[in-house]
């Protein structure tokens, strides 16, 4: 539980961080809240020789709305997300999910940028961002580009982000007024990652579902955007048949591993239950 030795850098600008990444290549790792990276270093599963701490870069903090988009700086902590009035009013699924991450101590340090950048299939925010259709802004030596959350994850800990890029912002199209959302997460205890979890976002007009998106956490090596499952809801009155179909389609795309949380068949089953419950709750709070 003792990390290997490393050199510590604390740049004050994104450019400074990028320069350090360029200089040290794959020997360098960005450090945000440290609550994923440091445990890995203590287990020596990650042995970076250079740590580039992002904490001193002011521009990476804060939550705002810019022309139809909610913009969250990468260094915004999960605690800040949890207590944001703007998000509570316009996009309550984010604070709802943040409250289900670990415990207050982790949330005071852990950042939303680190959470989505990390590529750990256990992290909760990636599925939320896929359901919301968010884009991640990546800044590198050649400028900035946006990557859709739905395209970002390749495999566990492998993402679209280049080695010399910094994820600076999460940009979310402000969800429609009156949308319904829910995040259902089953876990063994406080501080545990999901056995399975589901994010559901719906808009409902006079009893009819006019749009839906569903994403799943920790039932594959990446978060899963359950496009077909959501499609089965659109245009329906969210009756039993439509929900059963959505649940089945969501279960079909899961590929969980067996671990201490349970064997694969159980985790797939729980994913289905989470989808079912999230649909019901999202439907209830829509309108």
């Amino acid at each position: 539980m003792i990390p290997g030795s490393f050199e510590y850098h604390r740049p004050e600008s994104v450019d400074g961080a990028i320069a350090l990444l360029n200089e040290h290549g794959d020997e360098a790792r960005l450090l945000a809240g440290g609550h994923s990276l440091i445990p890995m270093m203590k287990l020596r599963m990650a042995v970076p020789s250079h740590i580039v701490d992002l904490q001193a870069i002011d521009s990476l903090h804060g939550i705002s709305e810019e022309g139809g988009e909610l913009v969250i700086g990468a260094l915004t902590t999960q605690h800040e997300v949890l207590t944001s009035d703007l998000l509570a009013a316009k996009c309550p699924i984010i604070p709802e999910a943040a409250a289900l991450i670990a415990d207050p101590q982790v949330r005071y340090c852990g950042t939303i940028g680190g959470n989505v950048a990390n590529g750990d299939p256990g992290n909760d925010m990636p599925a939320i961002m896929q359901a919301l259709g968010a884009r991640f802004r990546a800044v590198g030596p050649n400028g900035s580009r946006d990557i859709a959350a739905r395209d970002y994850y390749e495999a566990a800990y492998f993402t679209e982000l280049e080695e010399n890029e910094v994820l600076t912002q999460i940009r979310i199209p402000t969800p429609a007024v009156g949308h319904g959302s829910a995040y259902e997460k089953q876990k063994r205890k406080i501080g545990d990652y999901a056995t399975a979890a589901a994010a559901v976002i719906l808009t409902v007009e006079s009893g009819r579902c006019i749009s839906a998106s569903i994403a799943l956490t920790n039932v594959a090596s990446t978060p899963l955007y359950a496009e077909a499952a959501a499609g089965a809801l659109v245009g329906t009155d969210l009756g039993a048949d439509a929900v059963d179909t959505a649940v089945r389609l969501a279960e079909e795309i899961t590929e969980p591993t067996s671990d201490g949380r349970g064997p694969a068949d159980f985790r797939t089953h729980v994913a289905g239950i989470m989808v079912r419950r999230a649909i019901a709750r999202a439907q209830k709070n829509a309108g």
Partner: protein, 806 residues
Amino acid sequence: MNAEVASVEERKQNLKGMGTSRRRVEDARFVQGKGNYVDDIKLPGMLFGDFVRSPYAHARIKSVNKEAALAVPGVKAVLTADDLKPVNLAWMPTLAGDVQMVLADGKVLFQGQEVAFVVADDRYAASDAAELVEVEYEELPVLVDPFKAMDADAPVLREDLEGKTEGAHGPRRHHNHIFTWEVGDQDGTERALADAEIVAKEKITYQRVHPCPLETAGCVASMDKVNGHLTLWGTFQAPHAVRTVASLISTIPEHKIRVISPDIGGGFGNKVGVYPGYICSVVASIVLGVPVKWIEDRIENLQSTAFARDYHMTGEISATRDGRITGLKCHVLADHGGFDACADPTKFPAGFFNICTGSYDIPVAHVSVDGVYTNKAPGGVAYRCSFRVTEASYFIERMMDVLARKLEMDPAELRIKNFIKKEQFPYTSALGWEYDSGDYHTAMEKALETVKYKALRDEQKANREAFARGETRSLVGVGVGFFTEIVGAGPIKNCDILGLGMFDSCEIRVHPTGSAIARLGTISQGQGHATTFAQILASEIGIPADQITVEEGDTDTAPYGLGTYGSRSTPVAGAATAMAGRKIKAKAQMIAAWLLEVHDDDVEFDVDRFVVKGAPERFKTMAEVAFAAYNNVPPGLEPGLEAVSYYDPPNMTYPFGAYVCVVDIDVDTGVTDIRRFYALDDCGTRINPMIIEGQVHGGLTEALAIAMGQEISYDEMGNVKGASLMDFFLPTAVETPVWETDFTVTPSPHHPIGAKGVGESPNVGGVSAFSNAVNDAFAHLGLTHTQMPHDHWRVWKTAERLGITA
């Protein structure tokens, strides 16, 4: 008259003696972060040790190359078994009469086994260097399943025992067999089973778990080469025994060894045994001439430092059709891992498992236990229980429910029908224990009444009907558990560890100004001894508890004792405290009589003073007597006011309790919600009700953890699965329900103050209550028993097997 009564009360309150919820004196430092744990000890020039551990569960060691590790700046030494052999320390004796490798000698027997010990200037260098020690392994076939341990073709684990047909506990009949232990009347039991109207049989596994104290194990060894003195600070639950063992195996004379247990962050049996880290630190300090510290991390603790349980029990219980039990049989296959390092009294290789007739008047019983070696970590410690008592309690309490089901009888009713009756105490059980006192019927009736048991069963009936109609997906389970513990080991006639009788001790010095210090042979790890033992003394000798310092854990100052585990501190050291107090009081009485110029027999003790019989206005307070003890004692009496007592208990004590647990199980997710948990404990005389309640809360929380999630499991290669707190279930406040506590008081007749011990009761009684509740939820669907832990997926699988999942 009234004024005088009030003043007696006031004087009593002023003492904060027995029965007072006195605040814990320890907490002032703990809540300020000012505790002093082993890892807080920093000595000039101190080095740090770290282990190279085996990645394999069973492998031969072909070679160890230290070169790269020794080249790391700051590294002072790398020890292997070959370095320990010249001093005869490559192996060490275990508490169970076996031997254990200190560092791997030729082979490894479990994943995480200690292979080499790296000593360096700081932890970072030690850790870096440990990664660079090159060990060449040749993998051997791995034995994980204890049921295959005694197969003819099972791999030979212990080559050192080759040809040894006699073990520490009798004949060995296979190379992986450790012992067979039998108690009771086998023929009689077989007859009872054969003749019975009803026999219920069940296979019950109590999974391998781990005590997981918040503070892991560690030590600081400091050898002073000038005077030959060794000082050893460590997380020791039995510091005196550690000193004796250290002397025996190191050949350093015992008077030159000082063992100190500073504050300990929880023990739960995990810190009773002797670990390779202690020996390696001592050797390293001797070799290098400077202090050496070793502290394990969490993963090391969970992987290699003593586990608990791992009992595979097959039970048969027979009864008449109307529910009177006629016999009980139990066979246990005990998985001890690679070495038998159980912490049990010498004559009890399966501890006090033969308390498994529980609280019931069972006419005949037989128990046999087979201990076997497997490629797993050694241990088998008493995790917050007396030796193997929670296994025994879990066994009988599950068997009672299994039998109730078969009889179609209410489980509470079956228990009440078979309880040992109040008038039968002292009661000798079919398996040979003499229960000191009990009033089980009163306790059970109070419990059932408080929880409104009948109403719960009615609610459950309605819930099952609603479930069948498809109106709910949640099932209600009601778990009833009743336990009898056996604690306070123990009488020297049958209890010793490595030949050391299991007495305990207290030494008291009363100072001239009427305050005092008491030293004991035990050591608190969170139990609050400094608070409660002062209360016993306050009531015994009339000095306010706030003026009594209680000190434990330093072998240079404390009297010899066997330490704290198995709920033995109050039954044994608490008794020694009262007895030493009585010696003080007897001498004080002589001095008081002398001061009052009356005969010894004409004064009597009154709360905090001695009064002349019939003339209460003539008295001497304890404070006055204390001062006189140093300047004005009766002729012929020595000055001073000190006493020491070594207490050899005449019997164990037998705390008991009635627990009821109500759960709501979501059959779709397997999530079990603990709706209610009621715990009635009878621990005899209650010294500090607040501390009792705290102990019950803690013990129930650990019981919850064990029943609902804890497990140290291995894959088929012998890899430990989930040895971190991400997987190993340590409940937080969120998972922990509100505990309802209650009590009855049935004093122990043989204990000087009638106290029985309570710290472990809730773990012993709690596990079965949780498990019974989960099993009960599915009972109407034909379930008799499902294995712990009752985590989400196992509960869901049970529901799936019963055909009620969607």
